[in-house]
């Protein structure tokens, strides 16, 4: 690819000053902000959320995209809600939702959940313990095919003690058994869904009705146009501050962003760096940086994609992986692509993960040492400058997705960095489906991978332990280290958060030293939001978790805020 780093630098400099200005002007993170509380007069208003995607399923247990999860979470409640610290060990920090309180059995193999007697479904029926049993059974039913099924494997069963008391039984006492049940299972109404066989719920119209117990209820859903949630004014957890949230549906990123800047929408989830200059000059909008669990790394496949089961002739060698890591100026690339907005990635974890440690020692950026390492491993420069060992050229592909501008920029910068130490990389930009197939089939050499793990230690184990080697796991580099496996197992089984953190830290140190990936960045997660909308604290796993408490002061309302809850006019 002829693109040079100079050209990329030029591209970046166009928006860096504006982006920095935007951050300086508006960048006080909402997490640290202490918002004013809303008064009684501040209840009401409409927030229009522009989305570049269309939800398919809004049935908990079947969602697969971010927008589906977001709508589902606003419509359906869980038994309890994870705390802002995202602690997943035991029940510390969890706040009641449908379960007003809970009690652990002395052997910790069962938990009794006492449901809030005020809880009602949106059709007026009371929420019962049998709904909890039905919801758990549904998720675990193989014919239902829930993407969350594996997370509830430790839940043995749920029994109904009385209409408001459900008892959950677990196979083993584990630190995250409460999290596994409470975080992964939203409670759904048995009286609505129970008459449809689980296998048919994927295609059943009833799964699109969205009757939950959340603080918003589904009012309207028109394909390609909008999905409207309105306040459940009699909700047992209190009426939401906003009257309604309207998802303005679009199938295109730029069109969705255009709706924000034109004033047709009030909120857009994740702006790109190129949108920051416009955001900084828009007097009606502000930037809303929020924490996220997304992180990006270059996965180095340790298995030969051409001969599965055999070590990769290049990346099977730890020395080569370390040399390639040392060839990458990660800070420089970060500034080049994201300016001052993004954060470097410190290892196989996002910063906001409970066990994250950003003080871990890193492999240094040192091209001289990188060259020396390759020399020592027998990789000698060939006639065209590309190193060779035993007839094998130090040449490989970087798989990335065409839809991500930042990842494409990164792949070109990596290409240049590798070239400096005698490695020839080619950029293989494919669409999402193509990249996904390559990753799941482990048929890539290197690949730029971005994902958000579950907010717990198991999330790390899902990606870096031997247990995650197959297609069920996310161990794309096929990285194997028995010590790391043991440490991650110990971390997962530790009931003391400090011990879990210590085990994780040691595992992370080893992974960083083994370099099965080059840790690149945590992309800036900055939403654009209308200034009249006041937000609360934002959780790293779900920025929408507190949306029911976002509010619009009465004095700042626009015509669309003044509609109230009155029904639409008759056509």
């Amino acid at each position: 690819m002829p693109c040079t780093s100079h050209r990329l630098s030029f591209r970046a400099t166009r928006w860096i000053p504006a982006a920095i200005a935007g951050v300086l002007l508006f960048g006080c993170t909402e997490v640290k902000e202490q918002p004013q509380s809303a008064g009684p007069a501040d209840v009401g208003g409409t927030m229009v959320v522009a989305t570049p995607a269309e939800p398919g399923s809004i049935l908990p247990g079947l969602y697969s995209t971010s927008i589906e999860r977001q709508v589902t979470d606003l419509l359906f409640d869980r038994l309890a809600e994870i705390g802002d610290g995202l602690n997943s060990i035991g029940d510390k920090g969890f706040r009641p939702q449908l379960a007003a309180r809970w009690e652990w059995a002395p052997d910790s193999l069962s938990i009794v959940f006492h449901l809030d007697p005020r809880a009602r479904w949106h059709d007026g029926q009371p929420v019962r313990a049998s709904d909890v049993r039905y919801s758990v059974n549904l998720i675990k039913d193989p014919s239902f095919g829930s993407p969350m099924a594996s997370s509830t494997m430790n839940v043995d069963s749920v029994s109904v003690r009385d209409s408001l008391t459900a008892v959950a039984y677990f196979k083993r006492h584990t630190p995250e058994q409460f999290f596994d049940l409470v975080y992964q299972v939203s409670i759904v109404p048995e009286h609505i869904l129970g008459n449809t066989p689980p296998a048919q719920l994927k295609t059943a119209e009833v799964a699109r009705r969205g009757i939950g117990s959340g603080r918003f209820r589904l009012a309207k859903w028109e394909q390609g146009k909008s999905l409207t949630l309105v306040a459940d004014t009699l909700n047992y957890r209190g009426r939401p501050k906003l009257d309604r949230i309207v998802y303005s549906l679009s199938l295109d990123f730029n069109s969705a962003v255009a709706r924000l800047f034109s004033g047709d929408a009030d909120f857009f989830e994740q702006l790109r760096p190129e949108n920051m200059a416009k955001l900084a000059t828009d007097t009606s909008l502000r930037a809303l940086p929020y924490p996220s669990l997304q992180h990006t790394f270059l996965a180095l496949n340790t298995i030969d994609p051409a001969h599965p089961g055999q070590p990769n002739p290049i990346f099977g060698d730890r020395v080569v992986r370390r040399a390639l890591t040392m060839a990458v100026d990660r800070q420089g690339m970060l500034r080049n692509v994201f300016g001052a907005m993004a954060h470097p990635s410190y290892g196989p974890f996002p910063r906001y993960l409970g066990v994250a440690d950003t003080t871990l020692p890193q492999l240094p950026y040192d091209t001289l040492k990188a060259r020396a390492l390759l020399d020592s491993a027998g990789w000698v420069p060939g006639p065209d400058g590309v190193r060779i060992r035993n007839g094998q050229r130090l040449a490989f592909g970087i798989t990335t997705t065409v839809s991500s501008a930042s990842r494409k920029q990164y792949s070109v910068l990596l290409q240049e960095a590798f070239k400096r130490i005698g490695a020839a990389a080619t950029v293989d930009a494919v669409d999402f489906a193509g990249a996904s197939t390559k990753l799941q089939g482990r048929s890539f050499e290197t690949a730029l991978v971005t994902f958000s793990p579950d907010p717990n230690v198991s999330g790390v184990r899902q990606a870096w332990s031997s247990a995650a080697l197959g297609k069920d796991g996310l161990n794309y580099p096929s990285y194997v280290n028995p010590t790391v496996d043991a440490l991650l197992d110990s971390a997962t089984l530790a009931f003391d958060p400090a011990r879990a953190r210590a085990y994780s830290r040691r595992a992370f140190e080893i992974i960083i030293e083994d370099a099965p990936g080059i840790w690149l960045y945590e992309a800036p997660t900055v939403a654009g939001i209308h200034k009249r909308i006041h937000t609360t604290g934002i959780r790293a796993d779900e920025y929408w978790a507190g949306m029911a408490d976002w509010w619009i002061p009465a004095s700042e309302r626009t015509p669309r805020d003044r509609i109230g809850l009155r029904p639409a006019a008759t056509p």
């Binding site: 398919g56 193989p142 390609g224 034109s262 047709d264 489906a433 990753l439 669309r560 509609i563 006019a569």
Partner: protein, 323 residues
Amino acid sequence: MRRFVAGRLAQAVIVVFLVTTVTFLLVHLAPGDPISVALDKPGVTEAVRQQWRESFGLDRPLGEQYLRWVGNAARGELGWSFSFRRPVRDVIAEALPRTLLLVGLSVVFSFALGIVVAVLQTERPGGHRDRWLGRILLLLYSVPDFWLALVVLLLFAYRVPIFPPSGIVDPVLHDYMSFSGRLADRLRHLVLPVTTLTLLATAAISRHQRSALAEVMPSDWMRTAIAKGLSHRRAVRRHALRNALLPSITLAGLYLPALAAGALFVEKVYSWPGMGLLAANAIVARDYPLITASVLITSVAVAFGALLADVAVAAADPRVRVS
């Protein structure tokens, strides 16, 4: 004529069958499948993905899947959209009218405008008006559709924000408007995409129409008409135009498929949820049934449009013999 139409219909059926067959094979040969795209997330086991594939018959041999699809399509069953989680028939039933409205209006406006512009140019060939209109048309003819759409959007939705930038109605206030308010809201959202499509098509139609007019102008019967005292303008409008409409009729037939296929780039820029945008996103999501159904509808429209154009030309011009 009946034999001609019957023959063309038979050809159309074969073309549609071949196009959909090739599409079906190609989309299945592309890397990835709808399940691996939809369920590529942490915690999802291969067993779950496999269960979904089995539920929708994606684990069956390609030939079996194809035969099942042909059988279902013959009965009007177009399958299940993986990306919308709804029957494809329902998804298309919502998108198709939007595209028909958008493209239909632009076809009507562009033909009307294109023919008027061609007549204006022909009335004084080589004059100022002819030359300036020619330059403008050439410019419009040359610019890419997405570029023009972006410029129109930038001008009238941002610089002078008098029209909404995207969508088909106001997502919040539309339902609370009076009937006339709703109509006005819908029209406001139509202005920019229809204008863009109209400008683009007008350039092509006008150039074709002008050439056709230029061909008939030196005809003996035109000279006779003018010699008998008819003004140049009236001769063009009354005689030349009627005799030069054949290329436009053919063009109209060729524009018909766009009514069903949509105008991808314009739909994308204005986020108009029509058939073009639907098909493009279906490809990204590997939504096999939706892709194949979109192609089926488009190929039927192409075949029908071509047939209609031939018949219309034959009906309009007795000199054209159909066989």
